[in-house]
Amino acid sequence: MPSNESGSSEPGLEANGSTEPFAVTPADAGQELPTTSPQMPEQVVAEDISPFKDPITHGPVEPYQGGPHKGAWEDLSFEDIVAHQSHEFEESSFFTELAKDPLHLAAVESFTGFTIHTSPTLAGTYRCLLDVDPLKHAISLVAAASGARNSDREQVKVALSRNQLSIRSAFGGAFCECVLPLATTCDDVPLGGCVAFVVLLTDMLMTLDACENKIELTFVADQSRVSVVSGAFARPILTKNFSKFTDITEARIGLIDPKLRQVFDPSALAKACRLLAPYVLDDPVQESFNVVELVNGRLIGGSMSAVGFVYAPALKGRDLRFRGRFLPVLADFMPALDKCYVYDTGKFYVFRDHRFAFGIEKTERRFPAEIAALLSVEKNQDRVLLPRKQLLHMLAGMTASKPIDGVASFIGLKDLHNVHYELTAKGENGRRVRARSTGARQSMIDTAIHAKFSIGALLNTVKEFEAASTLIDFYPGFLVTRESDDQVEMETLISLVKPLKARKPSTKTADEAFEEATL
């Protein structure tokens, strides 16, 4: 249940008494947090730190022998533990999690909606201290979420509670929220309470440019001003009209239903989005192509000239459909998330881990299904394996002629084992750049290959992978490159400018044959 419908009588308060967007209460977590470590992640508490297990090794606790031993927390100083178990300390997932997750992992589990700060704080002075680097990272993510929009007018809402600060933005069809721990508790904020203000994103970006190490934010509510101090630097930031901020309300983004959430691997989606982004154009003319679709672990998107299919096993079972313009935003934002949940609200997809939340608008349109069907065409498939670095080098060289429409022609002549190929690009005023090399023949078809395609499309896919060779299949009307690494498999379907011409190799030498094909 989203918090703005919680029925709380006090503005900004949730039913559970917490106003912190990602905060958790013992009631939410379902059990009391251990007193020895108040910030211990909930999932670690529940699964790993049982009374019968060693909190460091996760193995059985050995009997106490009167000296320092594994698992006897109360008997050891920090120095003792480091001295005896320093290597285990470094490798322990428990401590990695604790260092990485200063907030409560349980907040992810208990998340039911975003806290809505309905009214501005009108009086009081509130001071907090933060580390600069996480704040810079959070603001850069907020800026990335705004995409290519004009950040001069974009506003962000900052909410301050006793031990954390959240920054929220909502631009166009995307929104995000970043939660940061405070360096020291902010006693100015009443216990369980929260103060919020709205500032320009550009003011925050500029201010952080001059900040180092720690930053002290002081919100002077009655002056509508935030004072920023970092070392020898200080500046004021004027707050903006609170009511004009477009917040992440249920009416806007839909209902967050924890029952519909799915575990999600953001790194796989980030990589898939980055690979696919060069092929997706925000083109209103080709509206049916202006959709990116994740189906059965395969992210699909592209244009009439090239379509990318990125398959990641980690994405299997989570279907998404969104507009192409969110692809670079997702590619920027997803690497910031740890393993997270994705929620389908009906209007938005919301990705959320313990620090960040990010939402993009859904679309009902579908990517043209017939394009995907082309990949299974078996007819006249002609397969070659080309050395990657050489191909990359040659494709880059083709661009020197400034080819008309960015098109290069490929001529491949095959002998028993090899394919001798030539790339040619023609520019204006008779300019031409050509390069020849040899690859491996992968099909038994011995016809010559003659194809014209976009240099940029092939360059984009070849440069992103690291295997020694690139596999290319030629079909009538298009070619397909097939690449893979340990995380994803990518197929790129590139339209041919002219339909593939199949020619029987003649008895002529390769040079004569190239010459004949060129003419």
Partner: protein
């Protein structure tokens, strides 16, 4: 790759036949296995530059001219040319044993010679004047990214040569714009590129005897003041002046002057700002061992064994009169690192519209230098420590000084990389920032501006 495949080259434009009538492979045998084709005896006389183009017209069936150069040599020459001239074209003269890239503006000229790896199939005194589009060099021939790829692919066995094949037969082969297609081969690439035969004039004047040049010291002296001259070429203050050990440049319009001392320059010079900037780039490419320079007929010549450049000297502009240091109101020393950081931070707060920076010096001997700019909602400020000079009696109660300075000038107050402190002197009409190291001194005076209306 099979040799025949590598060397073959189906030529789409008209390839002239050899004198014996056979259709030779145009690119394949650019190297040792084919001797340079002899040119008919009646063309052995060295033509004038104007005759050069006519030579092409008159001879309709000359064999193609073949030559090759090392890529690094061509790149160096092209960089030298680009340092002086920014044009869409590269003009070149091909002689039997070298290719000379030529570029000129109304203030400067550069000729950079590239030794030919394999001599051109021209007679000793013959030459061809050519004009290529500059992007051939920028995007393909001198682009290091192409070389890197090549090196990786061939694992140390990189093809370092660029081979050219140039048809001499303008008649018939040239298109309506008078261009013929030159064929160029390097690494795996074979390019066909239009080239024009356009006569050009090389410098006829002999090089001055000149004297040895320490290009590093000269470059440093130019760099120290070049940015302070007026950008507008119409301005009388668009020049910088150097003499034996000092230099001065400034822009009263922008309210900044730089004076240098201790930089070793042997000849007094007055150069246009644009020429100085070109010269700074060029000096980085000039060979230290053979670098020389001299002034003849109001022209500065800087040259080495391959690169020859000339820069027109300017008449000295109106004399710059910086505020006298005798009017000093206050003096202090600030650490470079802190002041540099403070300047960077305050400049990062300036809104897109240009805004002056307020500088205040206050406190006692261990005082504070504060920089401030107006921002939405007040002033952004940053401070750094400053050690103020003071009489013993008043050391705890020194006066506060305030000045508004141009932000552009403020970013340029650091004239020496190695200095650890910046002296800050408050003058009546300006603030002077000075640095000293290794006997060199830079003084940068920024004029006080009017306080903006906040």
């Amino acid at each position: 790759m099979s040799p025949d495949l590598e060397n073959s080259d189906p030529i789409e434009n008209k390839v002239p036949a050899s004198p014996d009538g056979s259709q030779g492979d145009p690119i394949a045998n650019l190297t040792d296995d084919v001797p340079a084709t002899p040119v008919p005896a009646d063309h052995s006389k060295k033509p004038s530059t104007k005759q050069s183009a006519h030579l092409i017209e008159a001879t309709s069936h000359l064999p193609d001219v073949l030559f090759s150069v090392e890529r690094v040599d061509l790149r160096l020459a092209h960089l030298a040319l680009s340092a002086v001239v920014h044009a869409d074209w590269v003009q070149a003269r091909l002689e039997r044993d070298r290719l000379i890239l030529v570029g000129s503006t109304n203030k400067a000229r550069c000729e950079a010679a590239v030794p030919l790896h394999e001599h051109a199939s021209l007679l000793a005194e013959d030459h061809l004047d050519l004009r290529f589009s500059a992007d051939l060099f920028v995007d393909l021939l001198c682009n290091r990214n192409r070389w890197l790829g090549d090196r990786m692919d061939r694992s140390g066995d990189a093809d370092t040569l660029i081979r050219f094949r140039l048809p001499q037969t303008a008649k018939g082969a040239a298109n309506s714009e008078g261009q013929v297609n030159c064929k160029i081969k390097t690494g795996p690439f074979t390019a066909r590129w239009p080239v024009e035969f356009i006569p050009l004039e090389l410098s006829a004047d002999p090089l001055p005897q000149g004297s040895g040049l320490d290009n590093g010291a000269f470059r440093e002296a130019l760099q120290a003041i070049a940015e302070f001259a007026d950008r507008s070429s119409q301005s009388p203050f668009a020049t910088l002046s150097l003499n034996a050990t000092s230099g001065i440049a400034g822009s009263p319009v922008h309210g900044r002057i730089r004076i240098t001392e201790g930089f070793l320059v042997s000849n007094p010079l007055t150069l246009a700002r644009s020429s100085a900037r070109n010269l700074i780039d060029l000096l980085a490419l000039i060979d230290r061992a053979t670098a020389r320079w001299g002034v003849v007929d109001n022209t500065l010549h800087v040259y080495d064994a391959r690169i020859r450049s000339a820069f027109k000297l300017e008449v000295q502009g109106p004399k710059l009169t910086p505020p006298s240091e005798r009017d000093s109101l206050d003096h202090g020393l600030a650490p470079v690192a802190e002041l540099r950081s403070a300047v960077a931070k305050i400049v990062s707060q300036i809104e897109p519209t240009e805004s002056p920076v307020r500088m205040r010096i206050f406190g006692g001997e261990a005082g504070t230098l504060e920089l401030a700019v107006p921002v939405n909602g007040g002033l952004a400020t940053v401070t750094c420590p400053i050690q103020r000079s003071a009489d013993a009696e008043v050391s705890d109660n020194l006066p506060t000084h305030e000045a508004w300075l141009g932000s552009d000038g403020l970013q340029k107050i650091f004239g020496l990389q190695v200095a650890t402190t910046v002296s800050v002197t408050t003058l009546k009409g300006a603030i002077e920032f000075g640095q000293s190291s290794d006997g060199k001194t830079t003084k940068t005076q920024l004029a006080r501006l009017k306080a903006p209306k906040v």
